[in-house]
Symmetry: C2
Subunit: 256 residues, 2 copies
Amino acid sequence: MPAERIRDHAVPVAAARRRLLRADRARQLADLLRHQVRTGGFPGGALPLEGAIGEEYRVSRNTVRQALDLLRTEGLIERQPGVGTVVVSEKYSHGLDRLQGLAETLHEHGDVTNEVRTVGPVTAPAPVARRLGLGEHSDVLCIERLRRLNGLPLSLDLTYVPMDLGTGLLGCDLEHTDVFRLLETLAGQPLGTAEITLEAVNADAHSAAVLEAPRGSAVLMLERLTHLADGRPVDLEFIRFRGDRIAMSGLLHRAL
Amino acid sequence: MPAERIRDHAVPVAAARRRLLRADRARQLADLLRHQVRTGGFPGGALPLEGAIGEEYRVSRNTVRQALDLLRTEGLIERQPGVGTVVVSEKYSHGLDRLQGLAETLHEHGDVTNEVRTVGPVTAPAPVARRLGLGEHSDVLCIERLRRLNGLPLSLDLTYVPMDLGTGLLGCDLEHTDVFRLLETLAGQPLGTAEITLEAVNADAHSAAVLEAPRGSAVLMLERLTHLADGRPVDLEFIRFRGDRIAMSGLLHRAL
């Protein structure tokens, strides 16, 4: 530590400032490239050569390298010897404009399968009972699923459902069907609205292991309380999406 | 590494399974407590004693301890000697239901101030020019701001604005006013819609330092292309929210 401090002091101010500016520019470039990765902007998943990127964005090759390093750390791209830099993790968009299950949303991209890790009735913790409009100490069905798209882990979902619908869910094909679809069939009416909250959290060791992601990797966490069309809350969920595989997109309006 | 593997093999299967179940339960408890932290569910910011939490949620004290550890790692709570466990980081909700600037959204919580780190014209990188509907090699105003609420860093925002509006922005009070509000004044019309994408990413070293957050901490990243009411795109932004301080909330509808 002292050695590093001494070295830092020895660096001329101008050089330190240059390094700082480069870090800013690298992040700014990484943000633009990330958008292209996410929207399929690199045909065949191959990124241009460093020199070409530098020319297009009018930045030095060192800045390009640092930007690519950032995206590599995020697990989006990789440098492959003899091939160049390629996109290795496709990022899928989950809609913010409409309430949809994962399989519904991603049906164009492949098959969503669910590994059911836990399923069974539990006594609802007080906040769960409250939010689902149930009496204290009511039972709820608790389901934990690891959800995969074409075999790759996407999310770890914990779901609480009131037992009148939960009992029916126990007999359903939870491995291949969205809970949303099953609930609509069992309730005989469509879903209505859902209150959602999105947060970014670092994956704890256990969640990371289940999602096959590095420990501490950023997770997009979705908390969702879904109501039937008649207004009754029937589905409280805590969903951890792998940050490198899922983004949420939508359209906001200025006027209410 | 080999030592650890040996030790793992030596653990009886039942004990390993117990540990796994406890990790699941701890995460599930942490999710419920996180909701209460975020929604002000602990009066005075003080969490109940471990024993009381265990009783309410019907889990062991070890599970409670592990859940509190998870929330402490996320920077939401802290154990204070002689006081107990307290909420240390308030988490603010940014709306997904309406397009609003940060100061507009958080005005009830205090003053948003912006430290302008960069402001000036740059040649628009090709994807920026394209998305803002500008000709190749047009200039855009590039603004980077560190945004604080009551002095605490909340987000690092990079903004690109076409120069016809950008020149006007240069003379405005960017330190105390949302760009949204300034754009509406300069353009003489309200904003219309914005296409947004939310992602969870790990903060790179430099962003983390600017946001005064631990390196690698989860960041809620918002990419937003905002249009005037007449449809013209005028504001492309890349915003990094500190994951421990901002969540995005809204209401989704099942029917379109």
